[in-house]
Symmetry: C3
Subunit: 651 residues, 3 copies
C-alpha cells in the first residue's frame, strides 16, 4: 500500500479537492495529516478552529482516502510556551535554554507540558477518533529528534532525583551502586543529586547511564500516556509512531515501541548516508551519494521490524533531494522506486511519501515532494506510479516474513555504555553493528533484530555485536538455546549499574564460555594489525581485548599470537574490532556449518526474501546478470537486473 | 596621494614634532587620527581634555599635513559601559554578553549608546569641524568588524519587533510572509517575536533574513545619524568610512555607503588571503603567502569603487607582517609598493599606510608600521618612498576610470540567502563570486561591481554570480538592456520574504529566459563531474540544478546529457558551480562575440587600466616579458616586468 | 624504592590485610593513601569518621609499609559545595559555572574554600602528622589539572583587582604598563578591571599575562599555606606534591615547587604521548603507541628534577592501559619495567605504581592496576617484581647525578607569552622546547632544566628555546658565565609587562650579542624553506625573524641569504624554527667545541647516566647491539639491549 504526508493548512482551500483527486489517481490509499497544526486548531489558548480541518478530512474521505492523524505535540504554539516557564528544554552541555522558533521545543519532564499535550491530543482524538475516514493515529512526530531526549532543566533534575529514589530507595544504596566513594562524590540525600554534565571533568559513568535511562523513561512516559489516551477514545483504530534511526533517539527503542500496533520509520537514504559516512573516504561516499549505501536503509527496516514484532510502515519516504544533510544530492532515476520496493521486501506494509507537494516557505522549502510547489509532477510522482504498478504484481497480503534463521541482538544499554565510556575514539556502536549487519547482507541473508527478552527459538545464528549489560534471564535463555551465538567485544563487560563484573569481563558470559578479559586496549583508528584466522591473514583494529582463553578453543589470534576469538561449544567471543573481509568469511563459514545457504552477491546487488518472493536490487550504474536464476519465475524484471532497478521472482 | 594612520596619544609629546617632519619628508599629505581616543579626550564622564589633541593637530598642520578625524565611537570607555546596562552586545549563538576589554563592544540597538556616540561625535565635530587642517572625517572605524552586526540583546529584540511591525503592519501579514504556519510557529502579536537563534533546531530562514535586514538597518541608522551630524557641523569637509571586506560586514554595503563622499577600504592582502584560502591546498597557499592572491585585493578595490560611485581611498594599507591572521608572513620586498600601485590603478585617490609607527604594547604590538617602535625606518618607509616617486610619473588627476564594459552584479541578499540556506556545504557566496571575478581578471579585463539599482547602460557584459532575490524594477531594466547577461545558479530562486517563487526558480527571470529549475542537488565538494561545452570537457561540482530548458538554447550539458547552461537572446543562465577553466573559456568566448578585447595574462601577471595608463603587475618571483608592448610608451618600467614589480605605459 | 597508590575506602575491610601482605611480598615500601577520601572522613559537616582510616593505616604499618598521606582537598564533598556559593570555579571562555560531579571543583580564590581546605588538612595532619608509619605528605593532588588554574568567578575577579592594586599601586601605572590607551581600554580605578576573557575580540596581552600571573599566584598561595600547615603539625616528615606535565599546570612550576622537600611526578607515557602527538603523522604515532616517545617521559623527569633541586619521585606510574587519552593502547611487555628504570636513571628516588587494584566502578574503572579488580595479578605485578630485582643490582644511595654539563633554560613566562601571543599557529612552546630536548637526548647527553635564577656555574652549554621576558639579574649572570649560550626565537622580545623592548628584540640580550630583530614572520606549518649552515642545507619553518646582524657573526642563513643564526663570543641566537636534523648537527658541533662527548644513539636507543652507571634503554621491537661497550662491566643486561629492554654498566 502507498500513502503520502499532507498539510492542508499549508495550502489554499481551493486546491484541496484537486489534491485529493490526484492522490487517488496516483493509487495512494493513506494520507497522514495534522502533526504540526496546533497553532491552526488552537490559535489562542482555549479557542479552537476545526472548520478547516473538518473540511479537509471530508475532502480526502470523499476520494476514499484513509486518514492517519498525527497528534500535534511536536510543535507547541508560542502562546503556550509563554504561558508556562518550564516547557523549553535545557542544553545539557551548556545549561542554556533551547528556545522557540523551530520544533520539539519541549521538555519531557515538564508536567505543565505533559498536561497540555494530553489535553490537545484528547480534544483531537475525541473529535476524530471515531471518524470513519480516520483509520489510525500517529503519536507526536519523530520523538527525540534534534537531541531532545536529554535535558538539564530544573524540572528534569527534580524528576531525576525522584527517579533515583524510586530505583535505589536509599541514598546509601545509590552511592554504593554508582561507586560515589571514588573522588568523594557521595551524596547525603537525593536532593543533592545533580545532572551528570557541566562538571570540571568527566562525570561518573554510572551517573550518566542512570540519566540516560531516566531520560529514556521520561520519553516513554510521555509516549505511553499519549497511546493510552488515543486507545481510549479511538477504539479499533491503529496507533503508530514514526521512528528516526535507532542511534538518534537516545531512548530504549524496544520499550518506546511497546503499546503501538506497529512501528513506522522515516526513511531518508541519501540524507542519512551523507551524515553517517561523512568521515569516510570520499570515493566511497561518491559511489553511493545518489543511491544511499545498499545496506543503510534495510539496516533500519530490519530494526524497526524487530521493534514492530512484524510488519512496519514507512511513514515518510524521501522523494528527491532533501535539505538537511551536509550535501543533498538528487537520487538517481529509479531510486525512489527501488527504495520503496526495498521497504516492502523487508516487511513494510505501506510506504508513504513525504511530502505531497514541496512547500514554498519556511525551513523545508528545499525538500522535494511528489509535486513541485507549482503543482507540477516531480520525479517522485512517476516513480510512485511505477511502485503502484509493481505492487499489482505482488501478493504481499500474507504478513509473515520467512522464518529468518539469522538475528542480530541489540539493545539501548550497548549504545549508551559505549557512548558514555568511549575508551578509544575508534569505537562507534552504530558503525560496529552496521559492519556486522552489512557482512550478513552481502552474504544474501535475511536478518532479524532481536533483544535480550526475545524468543530465540527460530534462529540458528545469533550475533550480539556489543552487549555490555546482560541479564540473568538472558543467560538462562542462552543456555537453553541450541543456536550458534557470537558476542562481540565489550559484551558482558558491565554490571547493571556500570561497574566491572567481579569475575572480570565477559562477566555473566563466563557461565557460557570459560574465558576472561585480562585487559583492554584501544588504538588509533588507522593503525591496523594482522589477525590470523583459518590459515589466512585479516586485520584487527581500534579495540583489542587480551584474553585468558581458559578451556575455550582459540579460533583466531592477534599479530602476537595471543587469542583474539574464542569458541566454546555453541558460544563464540570476538575480542576485537575486525575487518569487513573477516566478518564475511567468518559468517560464511558459520552458516556453512549450520547449513544456512549464503550467496556472495555482486558488490552493488542485494537480495531479500519476503513470503514466496525473492527480490534482487541493483544499487549500481550497470545492469547485472544474476547467477542460478535461469529456472526462476520472474514476476518483476528478469535475470538481468537493470541499473538502479530490481527483479522479483518466485522462490 | 599618500597618507598614514597616526596615534599621537600613544607617544610622548616630545616626538610629535619629529614625527610630523618625517611624514612630510616621506611625501605624505594625509594623517588620520582620533578614532580610538575617547578615553583620552573624555577620561571621565563629562570631563574633557583637548589640550593634547589641539597640540598634536597643530603640529601636523604646521607641516602642511591634512588631518582626517575618526569619530572615536568604536571604543567607548569603561566608565560609559558601566554607566548603562544596555551597551554591550550579546552573542547570537550563546546569548552571552560580549564584554569590555577589546573594541566594538557596543550594541547598535542601544539607544543609550546611540545618544552617547552622537554626543561625543558632536563635541568633536563642533570643536574641529571648521579647523582648516581637518579636511575630512571618518565615521567610527571598520563598522561591523568582529561579527558585531548581529546581537541578541533585549534592546535588539525590542527594536526588531518594532521593525517587524513597521514592515509587516499586522502579525497575520508577517505570519503569512514567513510561512509561520509550518511547524506552528505563528505569532499572535509582535511582542511574541524572538530572535531567530538558539532554538532547538534550525529557525525559519525568512525570520533569519528579516533579522539580517533589521540588523543591517540598525548599523545604517547609526551610520547615517553620524554622517548627518558631521555634515551639519563640518561643512565642506569630506566624510568617509573605512570598510572591511564586503562579506564581513553582514550589512547591505551599498546602503551603508550612502551619504558618504567616498568610500575607503582597509587593505590587508596577506592577512585576508591567509583567512580566505585557509582551507585550500597548501601549495596554492604557499605560492601567494607573501604576496597575497593576485586578484584578492583588486576584488575589494573594484567593489568599493562600486560603492563609492567613483574614486575611493585606501585608509589602511598593510605595511609589513600583521598580527591577526592564522599565519602572518612578511611581504616580499616590493609588495608594499606593488599593492599601493594596484590600488591606484583600480581607482584609489589616496593610500594611507597603517600605521606610522609600530606600537610597543597592547593587542597590535606585532603589527608592522612605517617605522619600527624604536623609530627606525621599516621596509614600508622605503617602499612608500618609491610609491611617492612613482606617483610623480603619473597624472591621476582625472578621476574617471575608463568606461569599463564588464560588470559583476552583487547584493547583500545574495550573501544572506546563501549563508542562511547553505543547502550544500560546498556553496560559498564569496568563493563563487571571487571565481567569476578572477576569471575575468585573468583575461585582462577591468571589472566594475554594480547593484540591481545601477545604471547598466555602459556595460556590454553583466554577470550576476548569485542573485536570488530580484526586484521588478531590475527585470524592467534588464528588458531594456542590450548587454549580455549571465546569471549564476540560485538566481531568481527566492521571493523578497525568502519563499520559493510560485512559478519555480529562476522566478522573475523567466520573463527573460524561458526555463525552469526542476530540482536542486548539492554534492560533496571534492566530487566533480564532467560538463560538456563547445565540444570540450569541463567540470561541474557542488551545486547542480535540473533544468527544463523550455524554448531556451542549451549551451552546455551535464555528464548525463541534461542541460547545464541555457541561453535565450541576450540572457544566459548557468545552473551549477563550474571550474575556473570553464569560466575563462566561456567569458573569453562571450567577450569575443561582443568585441571586448581580452588577453590571457601569464599566471602571475595582472593588467589594469586607469585613464591613459595600462598597469602590469607581477606577483611572481621571476621577471616576465610582456607581449605586444614593443611600441608602447612606458612611464614606469619596461616590457619586462620585474619580480614583485610593475610597469606602466600609455595606452 | 618502590611504592603504590592505594584506596582502602574503595575496598571491603576484609581484604585490607591481604593487600598489605601482597604489597610487602612485591617489595613495595611506600603506600600513598587519602587524597580523595574527604566524604568518608567527614561525611557530614563537622562529623568525622576516622575508625576505618586508623585501621587501614595500622594494617599497612604492621607490614612495615610507610604511608604517604595526601590531603583530600582535590575533592570537596557535596555538602560543602552546597554550604557556600563561591567554591565552584567559573569557565573563562563562557562564564558558566563548572559543577560538582567529578574532581577539582574549587576556585583557588574562594576564601571559604581556602579556609575549609586548611581546616580539613589541619584535622588530618594533627591526627596523623606524628604517626610513625606516616612518613610523608602529599599536598592536594595534581594541582591545576583539568584547566583549573584560571577561573572567571566573582571571587577571582575581586582578588585579581586587589592583586593589580598591590602590583601597580596606581591605576595610572597599570594603564601605562599595559598600554590601555590603545583602544581606549583605560580604567579609572581598580574596581573597573575585568577578567581578560569573553570580550568582543582579543583582549590586551598584558592584561592576559597579568591574569596568568595572578592565577598562578593564587594556586601557589593555596599550596604554600597547605605546606606551612603540614610543616607545623608533622615535623620531620617530608612534604611533596605530584605534578602533572609542566605545560598543563598554567602555573609557575618553579615557584609552585618551593617549600616542598622534593617534587613528585605522575608519569603516564602512553596517555601523554597520545595527546601530545595527536596531530602528527599517524605512522610516527604508530611507532611509539605502545611505548611512548623515547624522550617524552624523560623530558618531564629532567624538568621535575630541576624543580626538585635533586632527586624526585614518581608518585603515579602508568601500569597498563589507561582510560583518559583518545586512544589507550596496552604497553608492550617490558615497558612498565623500562619506564620505571628510566625514572631511576634520570634521578627518581622512588617509583609508585598507580594503582594497587583496578577499581570496578566510577570514572577510572578502565584504568589498569597492579592487580585486576578480581585481585588477580596484572602485567604490572610481574614487571614491578623485575624492577625490584633490578634495583638490587644497583646502588642508587648516592643522591647526586653526574655533574651534567648541558642545561635547558625554561620558565613560565615563555609558556604564557607564546600562548597569549601565538602570532602563527605553527608556534607551540612545548613542541619547540621538546624538539631542542630530544635532539640533545639523541646525542646521548644528560640534560638539566634550569631557570633564570639558577646557578649556571656547572654548565658548559645552556640553551633557552624561548625566553621572551628576561631579568636584569639574568643578564648579569650571563655576562659572568663562560658557558656557550643559545637563545631561540622570541627570546628577549618582551618586557615584564608584555611590551616590546624599546631597543627592539632581543631587548636586553643586545647587551650580550649586538643584533636586532627587524621584523617577525610566521608561515604555514607545512611550508618549509631551505636554511644554509656549515655548507649544508637544512630547513627553517613556521617562525622567522629578520635580523640586523650588527657586529655578530652569521652562523646560518635563510633561503634568501639573510642571517638566520648569529654568534657573538659565547652567545648564539637562533631566529627561526628549525628542523630536528639541524638541531642535532648544530648541538653536536657546539659540544665538540666544548669537548662534551656525544654519541649518536640508534633511533630507538636512549642513554642516561646516574652516579657510576650508564643505562641504555631500547624502545624498539628489535634487540640492538651497542658500540664501544665491549670492555664495560654490565650490572644489568649486556651489550645487546633486548627489545623493550635495558642494559646498565659501570661507567
Amino acid at each position: 500500500m502507498l500513502g503520502v504526508c499532507y498539510y492542508p493548512e499549508h495550502w489554499p482551500e481551493s486546491i484541496w479537492q484537486q489534491d485529493a483527486e490526484q492522490m487517488k489517481e496516483l493509487g495512494l490509499q493513506y494520507v497522514r495529516i495534522g502533526e504540526f497544526c496546533w497553532s491552526r486548531i488552537e490559535p489562542e489558548d482555549g479557542q479552537f478552529d476545526f472548520a478547516w480541518l473538518d473540511k479537509s478530512i471530508e475532502i480526502l474521505a470523499a476520494q476514499g482516502l484513509k486518514v492517519i492523524f498525527g497528534t500535534p505535540t511536536a510543535t507547541p504554539p508560542k502562546w503556550l510556551i509563554d504561558k508556562y516557564d518550564d516547557i523549553l528544554p535545557v542544553d545539557v552541555n551548556t545549561g542554556l535554554t533551547r528556545g522557540f522558533g523551530s520544533r520539539r521545543h519541549y521538555d519531557y519532564s515538564s508536567e505543565n507540558y505533559l498536561r497540555e499535550a494530553l489535553r490537545i491530543s484528547e480534544v483531537l482524538v475525541k473529535r476524530y477518533g471515531k471518524h470513519e475516514a480516520v483509520v489510525g493515529w500517529q503519536t507526536d512526530n519523530e520523538l527525540s529528534c534534534h537531541d531532545t531526549t536529554l535535558s538539564a532543566s530544573p524540572a528534569a533534575l527534580k524528576a531525576f532525583q525522584t527517579w533515583c529514589e524510586q530505583r535505589y530507595k536509599t541514598i546509601e544504596a545509590l552511592n554504593k551502586a554508582w561507586g560515589n566513594v571514588f573522588w568523594s562524590m557521595e551524596y547525603n540525600n537525593f536532593q543533592q543529586i545533580e545532572v551528570p554534565f557541566m562538571a570540571v571533568t568527566e562525570t561518573n559513568p554510572a551517573h550518566r547511564l542512570a540519566y540516560q535511562r531516566f531520560s529514556s523513561d521520561q520519553v516513554i512516559r510521555f509516549h505511553r500516556l499519549t497511546i493510552e489516551l488515543i486507545r481510549e477514545h479511538a477504539p479499533g483504530k491503529f496507533i503508530t509512531h514514526n521512528f528516526i534511526p535507532m542511534d538518534d533517539t537516545d531512548v530504549d527503542n524496544f520499550a518506546l515501541a511497546k503499546g503501538l500496533d506497529f512501528v513506522s520509520f522515516d526513511n531518508y537514504p541519501l540524507g542519512r548516508s551523507d551524515l553517517f559516512f561523512s568521515g569516510d573516504d570520499r570515493h566511497k561516499i561518491a559511489k553511493y551519494q545518489r543511491t544511499g549505501h545498499p545496506d543503510y536503509s534495510s539496516y533500519f527496516f530490519d530494526q524497526v521490524r524487530g521493534l514492530s514484532m512484524g510488519d512496519f510502515w514507512i511513514m515518510e519516504q524521501q522523494p528527491g533531494p532533501v535539505n538537511w544533510a551536509q550535501n543533498n544530492p538528487r537520487p538517481e532515476n529509479g531510486m525512489v522506486r527501488l527504495w520503496s520496493l526495498v521497504a516492502f521486501a523487508h516487511g513494510a506494509e505501506c510506504v508513504c511519501y513525504f511530502r505531497w507537494r514541496q512547500i514554498p516557505y519556511a525551513q523545508e522549502q528545499m525538500h522535494a515532494g511528489v509535486l513541485r510547489n507549482d503543482s507540477s509532477k516531480a520525479r517522485a510522482w512517476f516513480e510512485a506510479q511505477e511502485v503502484f504498478e509493481d505492487l499489482k504484481q505482488l501478493d504481499l497480503s500474507s504478513p509473515a516474513l520467512p522464518e529468518n534463521r539469522v538475528a542480530i541482538l541489540t539493545d539501548a544499554d550497548g549504545r549508551w555504555v559505549s557512548r558514555i565510556e568511549q575508551q578509544g575514539v575508534a569505537y562507534d556502536f552504530e558503525k560496529v553493528e552496521f559492519a556486522y549487519y552489512s557482512a550478513l547482507r552481502q552474504l544474501g541473508l535475511n536478518v532479524d533484530f532481536v533483544s535480550q527478552e526475545s524468543d530465540f527459538s527460530q534462529y540458528d545464528l545469533i550475533i550480539a555485536p556489543c552487549l555490555p549489560v546482560i541479564s540473568d534471564e538472558f543467560i538462562f535463555a542462552c543456555k537453553n538455546s541450541s543456536a550458534k551465538w557470537i558476542f562481540g567485544p565489550r559484551s558482558g563487560s558491565k554490571t547493571l549499574d556500570f561497574n566491572l563484573p567481579e569475575n572480570l569481563a565477559p562477566g555473566k558470559l563466563q557461565t557460557l564460555i570459560p574465558a576472561k578479559v585480562l585487559s583492554v586496549e584501544t588504538t588509533h583508528k588507522d593503525l591496523q594489525e594482522v589477525m590470523h584466522y583459518a590459515g589466512k591473514e585479516y586485520t584487527s583494529w581500534g579495540w583489542r581485548e587480551e584474553l585468558d582463553a581458559g578451556l575455550s578453543q582459540i579460533t583466531a589470534t592477534y599479530q602476537n599470537g595471543s587469542p583474539a576469538i574464542l569458541q566454546h561449544q555453541n558460544i563464540n567471543y570476538i575480542a576485537c574490532l575486525v575487518s569487513d573481509e573477516f566478518l564475511m568469511d567468518y559468517f560464511e563459514s558459520l552458516c556453512s556449518e549450520l547449513s544456512i545457504p549464503t550467496v556472495r552477491t555482486p558488490e552493488d546487488i542485494r537480495l531479500a526474501r519476503r513470503g514466496q518472493y525473492t527480490f534482487a536490487f541493483n544499487y549500481g550504474n550497470k545492469a547485472t546478470e544474476l547467477d542460478n536464476v535461469a529456472d526462476k519465475e520472474f514476476v518483476i524484471g528478469s535475470g538481468s537486473v537493470p541499473a538502479y532497478g530490481l527483479s522479483v521472482w518466485i522462490n
